[in-house]
């Protein structure tokens, strides 16, 4: 886990409205919860597509997930050096999120794996600073491993 003491300044999220980094350096995906029917959405929405209500609150999702499906991407845009593993993961709130999968040999990735969110360097900001984003990795693997 990245901690604030690891660097001079607090880590900056690559998409602050969707992914926040807490003071302890851990990350949380941000979404909406409908106060009327309980449905969850990612990213944050203006209205609930279940009941069409507009009484939504912003919530932090759980950091655990199960892998629904994945691919090893071999050709992409320059921003993403290949290969990387891309997957759809289901978080306990009932939301499916696309994410990169890290901390595992691509050949070992399996549908149904239990994963957890990790804060990892994810691109560079306009001022050249390192931005931090989320990837999911097998439960119990250490960052950088």
């Amino acid at each position: 886990m990245v901690t604030a003491t690891d660097r001079d300044t607090a880590p900056v999220s690559f998409r602050p409205g969707e992914f926040e980094i807490l003071p302890d350096g851990s990350g949380r995906l941000l979404g909406s919860r409908c106060r009327n029917c309980g449905a969850h959405f990612f990213p944050i929405r203006e209205a609930c597509s279940g009941c069409l209500g507009t009484d939504l609150e912003t919530v932090r999702f759980s950091t655990t997930a199960k892998l629904y499906t994945f691919s090893v991407v071999r050709q992409s845009v320059p921003a993403f050096p290949v290969p990387y593993v891309l997957g759809y993961v289901d978080v306990p709130e009932g939301v499916r999120i696309m994410t990169q999968i890290s901390g595992i040999d691509p050949e070992e990735v399996k549908i149904g794996m239990d994963l957890e969110l990790a804060v990892e360097p994810f691109g560079t900001g306009d001022d050249g600073e390192t931005l931090f984003g989320y990837r999911f990795r097998p439960v119990g693997t250490e960052e950088g491993k």
Binding site: R15, C37, A39, F41, Y68, S71, S76, M98
Partner: protein, 380 residues
């Protein structure tokens, strides 16, 4: 309410056109459609142009080249369904009684816009974490293999079939047949999809001229084909994760089309479906109800989807063989339907076909199953 009939179609060769542009290709397709219809172009009362990446007022640039400006014209963008949406809008203008003769044209000069994998709009949260269009379909392929036991060879057989069909289509991007081994050994793009599982980056244009019952009677065109249904939906917003191996959006759009046309999937004689990737054809034909869920890969292996098979799928070569110039694609599918139903498809003719269906599905927006889906049903 009036019926809608297609009295003329035209299409450029699909492929790389380094010496032309989207408007030039559109003008060529349009002139061919007018000539095919055998009408005075001054009869055309309105026009719709489908394109995605060609900039402002592409439709007007086409009409200006052929001296036909002065009409009401709207450019429509719905990603891969743009051309199909132009057909639908043209049909609605006729059904509403606004016009009797309407042009639908679709065009794209894609080689000047993209070299490699198409990606979603950069504002898309999934694009921000590395989504490409092939990778999204690759993930669906992986899940389909897990659920239904589809083999890699079965998946490759879809591309082999479409390239074989394309070899019989003089307007196709690719005219060379390929083998299952060649698909499996081609360059990896996003596992399990390889280069030959993907539709190519293609330039091309297609056009169709649609008329009302009244105008058909006046013109006395004996080669007209009836557009029995043209439906469009966007995906519903998901409130919980759902299967990615079945397409409720395709099913919904198809059911609306079947109802309007007064037919069922069992009445369809052949179909052009949106095979942007090999796995996409599998998902589409099952979503359309043309083959049972989980059953298409084995059916392709048995030759059921071949020209001459029980239910030919993508006789034109589809997007994998014929090419996929986004805005042109949906109109080109209708061109193939018309030519097949008229018995003018040459070497790839399907004998005795009376009902053809075209399906397009385009675009990606986070949180919904698909951005735009269209189904057209044409009846002889």
């Amino acid at each position: 309410m009036t019926g809608v009939h297609i009295i003329g179609v035209g299409m450029t060769r699909f492929g790389k056109h380094p010496d032309d542009d989207a408007a030039g290709l559109g003008a060529k397709a349009l002139l061919e459609a007018i000539s095919d219809a055998g009408i005075d172009p001054r009869l055309i009362e309105g026009a719709y142009c489908g394109h995605v990446f060609q900039g402002m007022v592409t439709g007007q640039r086409i009409l200006a080249q052929v001296g036909m400006a002065g009409l009401p014209l709207a450019n429509v963008e719905n990603a891969c369904s743009s051309g199909a949406t132009a057909i639908r809008e043209a049909s609605l203008a006729i059904r509403a009684g606004e016009h009797d003769v309407v042009l639908a044209v679709g065009t794209e000069h894609l080689t000047t816009r993209f070299a490699g994998a198409l990606t979603p709009d950069p504002s898309d949260p999934e694009a921000a974490v590395g989504a490409t269009m092939p990778s999204v379909y690759a993930m669906r392929a992986r899940r389909y293999m897990e659920e239904f036991g589809m083999t890699r060879r079965q998946l490759a057989a879809v591309a082999v079939k479409n390239r074989r069909h394309a070899a019989a289509n003089p307007l196709a991007h690719f005219r060379k047949e390929i083998t299952i081994e060649e698909v499996i050994e081609s360059r990896p793009i996003a596992d399990p999809l390889n280069l030959l599982d993907c539709s190519p980056v293609t330039d091309g244009s297609a056009a169709a001229i649609l008329v009302s019952d009244r105008m058909l009677k006046r013109l006395g065109n004996g080669r007209a084909v009836r557009l029995a249904a043209s439906t469009l939906f966007t995906g519903s917003v998901e409130t919980e994760p759902t299967s990615m191996t079945f397409e409720p959006l395709t099913r919904k759009t198809a059911e609306a089309a079947y109802e309007k046309a007064g037919i069922g999937p069992e009445d369809v004689d052949f179909a052009e479906v949106h095979d942007c990737f090999s796995i996409a054809e599998v998902l589409r034909v099952e979503g359309l109800g043309l083959f049972p869920q989980g059953g298409y890969p084995a059916a392709v292996e048995r030759g059921e989807a071949d020209i001459g098979g029980r239910l030919p799928i993508n006789p034109s070569g589809g997007l994998i063989g014929k090419g996929h110039p986004l805005g042109g694609t949906g109109v080109a599918q209708v061109v193939e339907l018309v030519r097949q139903l008229r018995g003018e498809a040459g070497e790839r003719q399907i004998e005795g076909a009376r009902v053809g269906l075209a399906h397009c599905r385009g675009g990606k927006a986070v949180g919904i199953e698909g951005a735009a889906c269209t189904v057209q049903v044409l009846v002889k």
